[in-house]
């Protein structure tokens, strides 16, 4: 089936098998390997991308379902070499260790801030419910999201 979609502002038009997962489209068709697959039960969130402005798990969606959609992946955040404030905050606050969950964490964090520009610690934690990190214990991630929020408020 032929699908058209936009990823990080770039248009793709491709014939795909209906069973091709969106994450495999992103990684293997578009060559954007920043989005990771961490489970098959839609519980780890490593594959989180933004689809029409909403954070979704790209391993729990077929590419055909994204026909016509606008997608942003972690690769689409930095602009001309300038990091997105959430990326910058993850770096400053040591919000990552092995880095595997990080793209999904950053995308989920962006969704939190899109909907609530100054979240409390509890709201940040609640907003990260769909993302597992096995390295950081989340504390530095919470700090990063709060720092990004504070930075944006300046």
């Amino acid at each position: 089936m032929k699908i058209n979609l936009s990823i990080n502002g770039k248009s793709y038009s491709q014939d795909v098998e209906p069973r091709l997962l969106l994450i495999h489209f992103l990684r293997e068709v578009a060559g954007l390997t920043g989005t990771h697959m961490g489970c098959e039960t839609s519980l780890c969130g490593a594959c989180t991308v933004e689809l029409n402005g909403k954070a979704i798990k790209s391993c729990t969606m077929f590419a055909v379902q994204a026909n016509g959609a606008e997608i942003v992946t972690v690769e689409g955040l930095a602009n001309n070499g300038k990091l997105d404030p959430v990326q910058e905050a993850f770096w400053n606050e040591h919000g990552l260790q092995c880095g595997f969950c990080t793209p999904g964490m950053i995308m989920a964090s962006k969704q939190i801030l899109d909907r609530n520009p100054s979240p409390t610690e509890e709201e940040v934690r609640h907003g990260l419910e769909g993302n597992v990190c096995r390295c950081t214990g989340y504390q530095h991630i919470v700090n990063a999201v709060k720092a990004a929020a504070a930075g944006a408020g300046k």
Partner: protein, 775 residues
């Protein structure tokens, strides 16, 4: 003038953000799955759904002729490949033949049976469904104590008692200690099986270049050099014809401190098909086929005087081995025995281990590896003893600590504790948490029928693993430092860190030693063709052992730089500072760039000096290091639901000198999360038939952001005398210190109900049952 950055600031000890992060936060890092090659093939592994079965036949015909399939291999094909080895030598160790694909029998759910190779991974997956395996299902046993019972099914028919190994260690005079005791407390303590659950599952890309007789193996591992040595031997390939690359590694926690069947299997496949092949473990495979951690049933006895003085400790440890030994399986419980005395001054111990085969995936190193189990045991026992003697748990610890005048301190288990001051972190933690006030509050709450608990754990650990005599395959580490002709610095570390931040901390060490900027330095790891042989990152060793190798390599290099400086400045009194060599008399200076230029151009050389600026050191540590600390956890219990709320988590860790507090805090937080996971939520549960019923994230609960408390992380600093950096290691501290503090807190909360011990995980239902019994 110099183009090399010069500076006056130092880096060690500062909160410096990590140099590895830009690629990780932009999604441009390369993990195994991200590797693409022309002609790449994909492998899917068919695995046993049964815990024990005889394979009557395997019919691969339909799969072989399925669309896109290139070939299918079974155990018959791979008979020529060597067995997956156990790296531990012990007398009477029973080592089953661990073939890379099952041959006659399968021994656990997930046991690899066949591999399908196709041009497309979707097609490979489809074809796997077409393989028909006729199994004769056999009785299985999944519980180590049941496996020891008479009449239990034999995991391996040749060993009907299911005993994989035994180990005995005595220290001091344990019988005398128990004979003289006023009080003896006993408890069975379980440290349940856990799934390491690194976020990146395992994965392998194998690329055989036939014309070069060269196998390139990209694998998500903590130990690329050991993988190379072992997999080359398994495949019958010369070791220098194999290159192992650990690209970005998405977490290991011990689960990638191993050599797995799939690593050799992909090598085999690529050599057969003469094309690159990729295998990425699914999460379901990760749960069933990658090693698990813990799996202890411990029977403790502690003898003490009425005043609380601990006289001796006995431990009978039943280790659930699983169906095979993986690389270090039998070693892990030995670490528990070594750690039996904890921080306490007793010279009498007896430890007995029985390793037991079960029809489960093997256990091996998982964050802490033997030491969390031991700490959990002794810290629970000390609380049980305190309760028995009606003593305060802080007081009984302070009474029994090895005091700081006694270091280096020889333990009853044959260790030599390097340095320690155990009372200081405990006192600091007690102050921070407001212990006296909390005990008052607890008394008030108890009058109102409310359950609040305060749990203390004072832990010690064996880190910087370790001296080679104590470590299979060697316990040293290597480092190379080069100053390139342009003056830039390249570090090659054999330690292969993967998320722990050594690309930053090693640069900090080198920057301070050489007086250059961080941006002048690049740290390279994880490629056996580039980096000299090394051991790897595990056992909280990367900085303490690998960093020390780097430190000594830097000293060698500095000496050589000085020689060139002396020659160029025509002086015999020079010093090295801020990226230059300065003549102390004239004040004239030569930059590293100028020195490197001279060293590589080699028009003139200092006496007895070779061209180039490179130094390599293999550093053998004279001892382990022994970090320690105190964790205090305050819990409130909802007596209606049994839910536990962590009100405070105070951690005071002493890991010696701290090179980068930001990174150390991150290690503590992550460690605590895994300790809390074990204490409260995580358990790998096999049913009676050997089915892993927590076989996915749907039923295996890992800590999530909203489940974690705020961790108040503090430190004391007792430098290690073992290495010049004074560091001890911090990767496992949080995990080791955490679980007993949590359980002690909950048991303390429920102690008015007569509760003395609860096994992990402390699920709400378990707590509710205790509370409901009283109501």
């Amino acid at each position: 003038m110099a183009t090399t950055t010069t500076k006056t600031e130092t880096f060690v000890g500062k909160r410096i953000r990590r140099r590895e992060d830009p690629r990780l936060i932009t999604g441009t890092a390369t993990y195994v799955e991200d590797i693409q090659m022309p002609g790449m093939h994909y492998a899917v592994i068919l695995r046993s759904p049964h815990a024990a079965a005889r394979i009557r036949s395997i019919d691969t015909k339909k799969a072989v002729s399925a669309p896109g399939v290139v070939c299918v291999f079974t155990g018959k094909d791979t008979k020529g490949v060597g067995a997956v080895p156990c790296g531990v030598a012990m007398p009477d160790l029973r080592v089953p033949q661990h073939t890379i694909l099952a041959t006659e029998r399968v021994y656990f759910v997930g046991h690899p049976v066949a591999v399908v190779v196709a041009r497309d991974r979707y097609l490979a997956r489809d074809a796997a469904d077409l393989i028909e395996v006729d199994y004769e299902v056999l009785p299985a046993v999944a519980d180590p104590e049941k496996a020891l019972a008479k009449g239990a099914p034999a995991v391996h028919p040749q060993w009907p008692d299911n005993v994989a190994f035994t180990y005995h260690q005595d220290g001091g005079n344990i019988d005398k200690a128990f004979a003289e005791a006023d009080v003896v407390v006993k408890q069975r303590i379980v440290s349940q099986r856990l799934v390491p659950m690194a976020m990146e599952t395992r994965g392998v890309v194998a690329e055989w270049r036939g014309a070069d007789r060269q196998l390139n193996l990209y694998t998500s591992t903590q130990i690329p050099h050991l993988v190379r040595t072992i997999v080359a031997a398994m495949l019958g390939l010369e070791e220098n014809r194999m290159r192992v690359i650990a690209p970005e590694v998405g977490g290991g926690f011990g689960s990638k401190l191993n050599v797995y069947a799939e690593e050799a299997l992909m090598g085999y496949v690529s050599m057969k098909i003469q094309k690159p092949v990729k295998w990425i473990e699914s999460r379901r495979e990760n749960f069933t086929c990658t090693i698990h951690g813990r799996g202890h049933v411990d029977y403790y006895e502690v003898a003490a005087k009425r005043d609380g003085t601990i006289l001796g400790i006995k431990l009978k440890l039943i280790q659930d081995v699983g169906a095979y030994h993986q690389l270090l399986t039998p070693l892990i419980p030995q670490l528990s025995v070594l750690m039996m005395p904890g921080l306490y001054n007793t010279q009498n111990i007896r430890g007995d281990i029985i390793g037991v085969f079960t029809n489960c995936v093997p256990t091996d190193a998982y964050r802490g590896a033997g030491r969390p189990e031991a700490t959990h045991g002794i810290e629970r026992m000390v609380d049980i003893l305190a309760a028995e003697l009606k003593m305060d748990p802080a007081e009984i610890r302070l009474k029994n600590f090895v005091t700081k005048d006694k270091f280096p301190y020889p333990t009853a288990t044959g260790l030599m504790y390097d340095s320690g001051d155990y009372a200081t972190p405990l006192k600091k933690a007690l102050d921070l948490v407001g212990y006296v006030k909390l005990r008052q509050e607890q008394a008030d709450l108890r009058k109102q029928g409310k359950y609040m608990g305060i749990g203390i754990s004072t832990y010690g650990e064996i880190c910087a693993i370790g001296p080679s005599p104590a470590t299979p395959a060697g316990g040293w580490e290597s480092a190379t430092v080069k100053i390139e002709p342009s003056g830039k610095v390249t570090i090659l570390t054999g330690a292969c860190p993967h998320g722990q931040g050594e690309e930053t901390t090693f640069a900090q060490i080198a920057a301070d030693e050489l007086g250059v900027g961080l941006d002048d330095i690049l740290v390279i790891r994880g490629d056996t063709a580039v980096v000299q042989y090394g051991i790897g990152t595990f056992g909280s060793r990367a900085t303490a052992v690998g960093g020390t190798a780097l430190y000594y390599a830097l000293q060698d290099l500095k000496a050589k730089i000085k020689k060139f400086g002396e020659m160029l400045l025509e002086s015999d009194d020079v010093s090295l500072m801020i990226g230059q060599v300065i003549d102390n008399k004239s004040g004239k200076a030569k930059t590293f760039q100028e020195i490197a230029g001279a060293a590589y151009r080699a028009l003139k050389l200092p006496p007895n000096t070779e061209p180039g600026l490179l130094a390599t050191r293999f550093w053998e540590p004279p001892n382990f290091t022994f970090p320690f600390g105190a964790h205090i956890v305050v819990t409130d219990i909802d007596d209606e639901t049994g839910q536990i709320k962590i009100r405070r988590y105070v951690a005071v860790d002493d890991c010696g000198n701290i090179l980068n507090p930001l990174i150390v805090d991150g290690q503590v937080h992550g460690g605590v999360a895994q300790g809390l996971g074990q204490a409260l939520w995580e358990q790998a549960v096999y049913d009676d038939n050997g089915q892993l019923v927590t076989g996915e994230l749907t039923d295996y609960a890992v800590p999530r952001a909203q489940m974690m408390p705020w961790i108040e992380s503090h430190h004391t600093c007792t430098p290690s005398p073992i290495n010049p950096l004074g560091v001890k290691g911090v990767g496992e501290a949080g995990t080791i210190g955490c679980s007993p503090a949590v359980v002690n807190s909950v048991v303390d909360a429920l102690s008015p109900l007569g509760v003395r011990h609860l096994d992990m995980p402390l699920t709400p239902e378990k707590i509710w049952k205790v509370v409901a019994k009283k109501n």
